[in-house]
Amino acid sequence: MEQWANHPAIVWHDHPYTYHDLLARMQAWKATLNEHDIGPGQVVTIEGDYSPNAVSLLLTLIERSTIVVPLTRSVAAQREEFLTIAEVQVVVSFDDDDRWHIERRPVPVTNPLTRQLIERGHPGLVLFSSGSTGKSKAALHDFLPLLEKFQVPRHRRVTLTFLLLDHIGGINTLFYTLANGGTVVAVQSRDPDVVCRTIEMHRVQTLPTSPTFLNLLLISEAYRRYDLSSLELITYGTEVMPESTLHRIHDIFPNVQLLQTYGLSELGILRSKSRDSNSLWFKVGGEGFETKIVDGVLWVRAKSAMLGYLNAPSPFDEEGWMNTQDVVEVDGDYIRILGRRSDIINVGGQKVYPAEVESVLLQMPNVKDVAVVGERNPITGQIVTARFNLFEPEDPNEFKRRVRAFCRERLAPYKIPVKITITEDEQHSARFKKMRKPW
């Protein structure tokens, strides 16, 4: 990091902090950690975002071989549960002014996986799955294999951090950027206007994001209100991209490269390459990752795979492969993700992928957002249901007619939503991922 001393490493609350500044803060943290007797093998939570003190603490904790459990405010409701699962011994919380507070928790580490990592003497990372369906799972990583891929020099870029520190995508963005002397730009909210204003102000080149956010960006038309000419690359992942959203983004940003990313909190982020900016076909893999397709489902084996879950059985088979549950189509070296196996709706034996139906419905006038899910039904096994957010209120029966008429020319009959509802609630999680909860 010293080679880029005077270059900004992070921008937080619109203020740049140099690599030199981060190094100085790391020195200060070493003294503070000594003072508080925080050493190798302890389990430490960082409660905060990309502030200079939190980021420099994260780097210092890795250097010191502790096990880091990043938490953010979006999981406040599950805070206690997460602290208990991870057997957290020290919590360092940061406030909005980057002041910190250390809390000790008198908890012994009993989890065999964590103990195994402590014996190795390596730093660790615990990431919680969002648990949009069922219970959150805690993935324990050895931090060193996760960081290994950043040894290879890549592009130096100004990158906005859309995902937070408690997400594999956020961790990946942070280390990719810092390893290459780039600048990480933090945003205070993921409101499209805030994000666009930040891109304009700090001449952001890379925007890693999710299809849900890109859809909000289109709806809000925030891109019209700011100068986004600095953008060179938009990456999207974490969920299936509706084809209609991708094409519209490509129309609006014809000179920006659009790249689909792929990663799981259990495995790390794979390297990927989209066929072109307007295509959902992409290649995944790269150094340290192997892939195979079994019965149409993608399996991955990764050097950077987690050791296991702290609170669930291992998802790996004997040879270390993990079933991603993502159903894919294959064309030579390229794949296209159709959806999570658990999201597939089975209507009388015929498969319906929610993303495909959503992609069509999103093109309807007055539709702001839509979530398609399956519901049990004794006649056809399952039925397709669609829950809409609208811009302007509409008569429900009239709207149903409009939906069915629109779908008739565009979807096979079994894919057309049988149950159509309108809601005022937002349908994405704090991580800007669509929630396909049954209702």
Partner: protein, 107 residues
């Protein structure tokens, strides 16, 4: 027992409206007349299974939104009736009356 919020004529009209909507919206031909003995599902009837589930769900939603009645029309019980409640408009109306009556006796 509360007084019925919806009578048989209302129910027949509701089923017919729903049937017309679904036939129209799925591009199926509309018969000249729809009455109680119009066959819904089965041999020579108007609907296939997809259209039938659509009507069933549509009726459930209309009964809830327009009449405050929360009924489950398609469940294992409906499927295991000796005489299918989905064979004709009249049979479906009979079954609806039965369900509404049970629902109201429970209150």
């Amino acid at each position: 027992m509360t007084s019925p919020t919806i009578n048989r004529t209302d129910l027949i009209n509701l089923v017919i409206t729903s049937l017309r909507d679904v036939l129209e919206q799925s591009g199926r031909p509309l018969p000249a007349t729809i009455e109680e003995n119009t066959l819904l599902f089965g041999k020579g009837a108007l609907l296939d299974s997809l259209a039938l589930v659509t009507i069933v769900v549509d009726l459930e939603q209309r009964l809830e939104e327009e009449h405050g009645l929360t009924l489950t029309l398609a469940d294992d019980r409906a499927m295991s009736q000796r005489n299918s409640p989905f064979r004709s408009v009249g049979a479906l109306v009979d079954y609806l009356e039965q369900l509404i009556h049970e629902e109201q006796s429970r209150d």
